[in-house]
Symmetry: C2
Subunit: 479 residues, 2 copies
């Protein structure tokens, strides 16, 4: 018998060591390989194909709202980065600097973009003159660099891929509307495509983006009860416009500053897919984002007619618009099952000599392990329907997990107890004072995740200081 290409090695169980489980999955599902540059990852074909599907879905949703794509330089001159005070303070400590070009030392250092607000502002100052030039709704897909000390694949890396939208508007109202609109695009995408429910809300001033007037966020809950900030949308007001001199003449021919937004989602979201849906057998991909939705696996493939039949089923599924593959390698069916499970492929179709005789196939769900025997006549219909069921069930399970791990705390004792012993979100009231926010973080390592849009008070007083409360906050430990 042919030598197995490699063992499907067992991975650390989630309950034993969640962090190690995560690392095992990204490595063994072949999503990522480490590179020779500290903190920079190689995204392998199975990982990149997920990102391609994310891009395709998000890009279509952006364009449906009138957004156009552009490409800005990857370098930012130091003087340009320094134009907006809060912004440079937020980013300068974590950027990579180019100081030499070819054989010469540069007169001015260039930073490799950590984000491109300053470049877009410089560009907008050039191309915006009149109210007729507004709004500008630009986006770019690119890589950015942030010199992080501690890195983890997808979750925090020195270089990562993302999109960054940057818009300019005539009024503050319009900018605010766009900020919320794009947050909703992210939230809908997460729910509808990634089967990840999110909490939508505003960041506190302490947690907002460097240079923003307000930052909105979607927060997802991972399987271990930690939060992951999964997408953000910022309203800059006219702060950047004033720093960069971006003005337009309005209908009365008077000069006004534009109001701006920016919003981004990154490869970090792949970390969320892994940590929301995965299990001890590996990755579990929601069908709508899975690069391969169905793996056809022949049983006793050396028996006459089996491989041919398996190939025929794969072709039929592909013709029905289902992303399908055939595993005709010389590994045993058991190994193939384990690999398909590790890679998170939503369904497998098993077909062997007896199935052929009975004109049937066995369809197995990755999410539940459930098996069904299907007549070959009904294969495409059954598989197509089952993929939708799997998608819906995965979202339902993630929603149930979020609900079951969202707690309420009325006082500080309860709060500390929940944060220490019940991984998840804790809803608690807050006075609005940054001092309480800082104290909570020091005492518990939990941070304010957001002030949710849906404000349903759970009390009248701040959970920390006991003074009158202003807002309900979702608190939690976060990635």
């Amino acid at each position: 018998m042919a030598k197995e290409k490699k063992l499907v090695e067992s991975i650390t169980s989630m309950s034993e060591d969640f962090a190690q489980w995560y690392t095992d999955v990204v490595k063994k599902a072949e999503l990522v390989e480490y590179s020779g540059v500290k903190g920079c990852m190689i995204i392998r074909p199975d990982g990149y194909a997920i990102w391609e599907n994310i891009q395709k879905e998000l890009d279509a949703r952006f364009k449906a709202t009138g957004v156009q794509n552009v490409y800005m330089p990857m370098f930012i001159p130091e003087s340009l980065l320094q134009k907006e005070k809060d912004h440079v303070e937020g980013f300068a400590p974590e950027v990579a600097w180019v100081t030499q070009g070819g054989l010469e030392t540069l007169q001015e250092r260039l930073c490799v973009r950590p984000t491109s607000e300053t470049l877009f502002c410089d560009f907008y100052a050039k191309i915006i003159q009149s109210h007729r030039d507004l709004p500008k709704l630009y986006n770019q897909w690119c890589s950015v660099v942030r010199w992080e000390k501690t890195t983890r694949p997808f979750l925090r890396s020195a270089e990562f891929l993302w999109q960054e939208g940057h818009t300019a508007h005539a009024t503050q109202e319009e900018a605010e509307e766009r900020t919320i609109q794009m947050l909703n695009v992210y939230a809908d995408f997460c729910e509808e495509v990634l089967a990840i429910p999110v909490v939508k809300g505003r960041k506190t001033d302490k947690e907002k983006f460097a240079g923003a007037e307000s930052t909105y966020t979607i927060e997802a809950l991972m399987h271990d009860g930690k939060a992951l900030q999964s997408g953000t949308s910022h309203n800059f007001g006219n702060g950047f416009a004033k720093a960069f001199g971006i003005q337009y003449s309005d209908k009365n021919n008077e000069l006004q500053h534009v109001h701006q937004t920016s919003w981004g989602m990154s490869t970090r979201i792949i970390g969320a897919i892994i940590m929301v849906h995965g299990d001890d057998s590996g990755l579990k991909l929601p069908p709508r984002i899975a690069p391969v939705q169905v793996m056809v696996i022949p049983i006793s493939q050396r028996k006459e007619g089996v491989l041919e039949k398996a190939a025929e089923l794969k072709d039929r599924l592909a013709a029905a618009g289902i992303r399908s593959r055939l595993d005709d390698s010389d590994k045993s069916p058991g190994w193939k099952f384990s690999e398909q499970e590790m890679r998170g492929i939503p369904l497998r179709v098993e077909i062997g000599p007896r199935d052929i005789e009975e004109n049937q196939a066995v369809v197995v769900r990755r999410d539940t392990g459930e098996k069904a025997v299907v007549s070959l006549e009904e294969l495409e219909t059954f598989v197509g329907g089952l993929l939708e069921t799997v998608q819906a069930d995965m979202l339902a399970r993630a929603k149930a997990h979020l609900a079951a791990h969202t707690y309420e705390a009325k006082n500080y004792e309860e709060f500390r107890d929940l944060i220490a012993n019940k991984p998840g979100f804790v809803k608690a009231m807050w006075c609005g004072d940054e001092a309480c926010e800082r104290k909570i973080k020091e005492d518990t390592t939990a941070t304010s995740r957001c002030l949710p849009f849906t404000q349903e008070p759970v009390g009248d007083t701040c959970v920390c200081c006991g003074k009158p409360a202003k807002k309900l906050v979702f608190w939690g430990k976060a990635y």
Copy 2:
């Protein structure tokens, strides 16, 4: 009457100053804006939309041959870049160096990738063990940096976008086959989609890629008779594999070095589209690559029903799968025509009150200026068919231009005369000696563009030294 948003300024004519014409077109068709970083360009929505269409077409063609996409880090440690001697010599003088990360000085400099052979080799050395792991057919879409002194938008810039394919194979034959296969993908794409005919051939040793065993190229001829290298495909043999230790165990369990290829096409090709097809009214986009194929322009749009009818026509065309827009701005029809021509939109549909009365529209070709009156019943069919005709005619004209500007030289006097006075390719025989190649370049500034696959000798002796000739060469001045 409303103030015009901006004038459609006249551009320099091609015959007066081709270089200035090019700069005017990229600027006034709003493809590119200059940035604050020398040699780095901002690709604006109309430019980037062309690149998106190029990506979509090429990516599908790559994937049809089994290629998978990945993403590699943008940084290369200096020690890694130095592993292959020829390669580092070729690229080190023109890379940008990162020397500081955050607040710290790096222990080892990192170069911003000028190309990623070294990264792929490092990766392949890790993941290739057995003949079962071969071939590896990876590609990435990314930006690269080359610290060029003299830059021009698309043609030569410090940063540009491209794809770079990198493959690893068990045998030299298989690597050679893949090298030629990808060159053909590029050539077919240029002809079928961009309406650009190319000359396919091999580069001389002097002109080949740093580290390659052989480099193949497609060469296109611009309107001014200069050549543009438009895509390259390299066979590395096992040189990189030896430098990086990329080995696999073959079927007899013996260790072998892999054989590698790489191949790339960049945003430079947008420069070719401009310079092959454009004219004194601006850009001229082949329909298959044009982001907008048809602009519907209402005449007397304030008359009742005109705007509604124009919008209806635009919707009908869009429903028929034709990329259409409506220009309902408050500019005059004349301005709108000029803008549509400047932007290279292949067709415009004019519709006014009299047309509505007659149940017709006027369709005007960008490539020839030809007008046709079409019954509205036949609009989609007519426009769809005309787009195909325009595409075919643009290719035919480019082919005719290439043929009319390809000359033959039998001796050095003829050769120098042609290069000096007849912009275009000169076919001439070559002895194979690099000395002659250098002399020709010194005497005429022309370079060997390629040794064409179709070798039809035009003589027996080297056009430069008169010794026996080995090969037919296409010579020309180049961008």
